[in-house]
């Protein structure tokens, strides 16, 4: 039974990435960095619930299990199918989004995961972007992680077209080709403040967007 329990998430994960390939034919462009097993933080634009799956799909299989999404506890920690995917299949690191319901520093579980050798997938906009703007402003989480773990590489990752495959509120996906572009690592500069770093890392991510992405 325990074997079955550990097998089911792995199989489910293969089915999910297989489906993602079937619908989106996704291709990973390793433009400024290459796959690396050392702990990293991939920070990406966030328009769809499938964003994390798409990054996972283009990562080499060996790196997938150790690369965990940072997800909102209020959404993914519930019971049922969402909880199964969040906890068992994706092995998400859950954070409390609402400051009111936090009883501890929300970056602690993230630092623990990095220290355990995991890589993280982080959406620094903090929520799904449903606006016309290509990218929202960044929250401070990325900056705080960069300060506490300066040796961890921060890789910008631009996910293109997935918002067209499954716009918010739609139930049937339209098959369209998607790309996931990995840029060069962004490092926190000596004495750089939170606001300056958030602006700079956001610009580094936006620079990976194809030209047409900016236009609606």
């Amino acid at each position: 039974m325990t074997q079955l329990q550990s097998l089911t998430p792995a199989m489910t994960a293969s089915i999910v990435t297989g489906l993602a390939r079937l619908v989106t034919g996704v291709r990973g462009n390793w433009q400024g960095s290459l796959p690396d097993p050392r702990p990293r933080i991939y920070f990406a634009n966030h328009r769809s619930h499938g964003d994390f799956v798409l990054i996972w799909t283009v990562l080499p299989r060996a790196l997938r299990r150790a690369t965990r999404p940072v997800a909102a506890a209020d959404y993914w920690a519930r019971g049922g199918i969402r909880g199964f995917f969040g906890r068992n299949v994706f092995d998400a690191v859950l954070v409390e989004r609402e400051a009111a319901s936090r009883d501890k520093d929300p970056t602690l579980p993230l630092l623990a995961a990095l220290d355990a050798g995991n890589s993280l997938i982080l959406f620094p906009e903090g929520t799904r972007n449903t606006s016309e703007a290509p990218l929202l402003s960044f929250k401070s989480g990325l900056y705080r992680l960069a300060r506490q773990r300066p040796e961890v590489e921060l890789i910008p990752v631009w996910i293109d077209n997935l918002n067209r495959v499954m716009p918010k509120g739609e139930f049937v996906p339209v098959p369209l080709l998607c790309t996931v572009t990995f840029g060069a690592p962004v490092a926190l500069a000596e004495g750089e403040g939170s606001i300056a770093f958030r602006e700079r890392s956001r610009a580094a991510l936006l620079a990976l967007a194809p030209n047409d992405a900016a236009a609606p």
Partner: protein, 314 residues
């Protein structure tokens, strides 16, 4: 020869050509200085490797007969339509119409091939989808660029689904004395048109001097066009035994479909140019996307289908 023997002879010949191509590619690559490979030869070898995969897939489909060929081309249509829509500026209001194109229109078109209902097959997309799909889009209420959006969706369906479905539709033609061998007609069409593409590439690389349409495609030359079309026509004549045609008719058919294929390639290049991309996608290593590979077949298939239907069926 029986149909089985003809198929074996055909695939034996194709495998021999591919083996020779792989050998030439290997020798060319070995002549390059170590650590400094030529991108042209790398691309050539990637193309040859992809051909092995494509020939294997077509071989399996032909071996499975009608269901195999229909499923193969339905999947090719799916990939082609996906590439086309990806490069089309769509809006939220197109979502239902697009989902219906993939999951309703495409399956119905290939189902009509399966049940051999020619009357509906030939007008389903040009008439019924043409009328119904804009209604689906209109009901969503988004009028921005409405005319452009519905026109592009219809064009994509015509190209990627309607035209391409004429390849498996060859299996439905009632040709007297040709029963049980119709899959060879599919092989003739695909082989001649694809050979024409390859031969144009080879002639162009070897002797190409004068660009034929520099604004559309920098790699297409007069020498490549003439050499490719003429040698593919000769190949078509030499393959007359696959078909119900006489050698002369086979040559004329080959000439028509290679010219259609060449001009179709120019049309699709014009769209790529306008969209600012080199390839439609990245599905087939060395070639680009599905549409990059089947663009010539798309433009040749309906003409080949109707010429054959007009002169050779009862």
């Amino acid at each position: 020869m029986t149909a089985g023997e003809e198929t074996l002879a055909l695939f034996g010949g194709i495998l021999a050509v591919l083996t020779a191509a792989s050998l030439i590619g290997f020798l060319l690559a070995r002549r390059q200085p170590a650590g400094n490979p030529s991108p042209v030869i790398e691309n050539l070898n990637a193309r040859i490797r992809a051909w092995w995969v494509m020939v294997a897939l077509i071989g399996v489909a032909v071996a499975l007969g009608k269901p195999g060929v229909i499923v193969l081309f339905a999947l090719a249509s799916f990939a082609a339509l996906r590439e086309f829509v990806t490069l089309t500026p769509t809006r939220r209001g197109d979502h239902y119409a697009l989902a219906a194109s993939f999951f309703v229109v495409l399956p119905i078109q290939y189902y009509l091939v399966w049940i051999e209902w020619y009357g509906l097959f030939s007008i389903f997309i040009p008439v019924y989808v043409f009328l119904l799909l804009p209604m689906v889009a209109a009901l969503r209420g988004d009028t921005t660029h409405f005319m452009t959006r519905i026109a592009e969706q219809q064009w994509g369906l015509m190209i990627a689904v309607f035209c391409l479905s004429h390849v498996p539709a060859l299996l439905t033609l009632p040709i007297p004395g040709f029963e049980g061998r119709k899959v060879l007609l599919v092989a003739f069409l695909v082989l001649v048109v694809q050979a024409s593409d390859v031969l144009q590439y080879v002639w162009g690389k070897l002797f190409g001097r004068h660009k034929i349409a520099p604004l559309l495609s920098p790699s297409k030359t007069v020498e490549g066009f003439l050499g490719g079309v003429l040698s593919a026509t000769a190949l078509g004549a030499a393959l007359w035994w696959l078909t119900p045609f006489s050698p002369i008719h086979a040559a004329l058919m080959a000439l028509v479909i290679t010219i259609m294929g060449f001009c179709g390639g120019l049309v699709m290049s014009a769209i790529k140019r306008d969209r600012g991309v080199k390839d439609w996608g990245w599905m087939i290593e060395g070639h680009g996307g599905m549409l990059d590979r089947v663009d010539s077949v798309i433009f040749a298939a309906p003409v080949f289908f109707h010429l054959t239907r007009y002169w050779w069926t009862v």
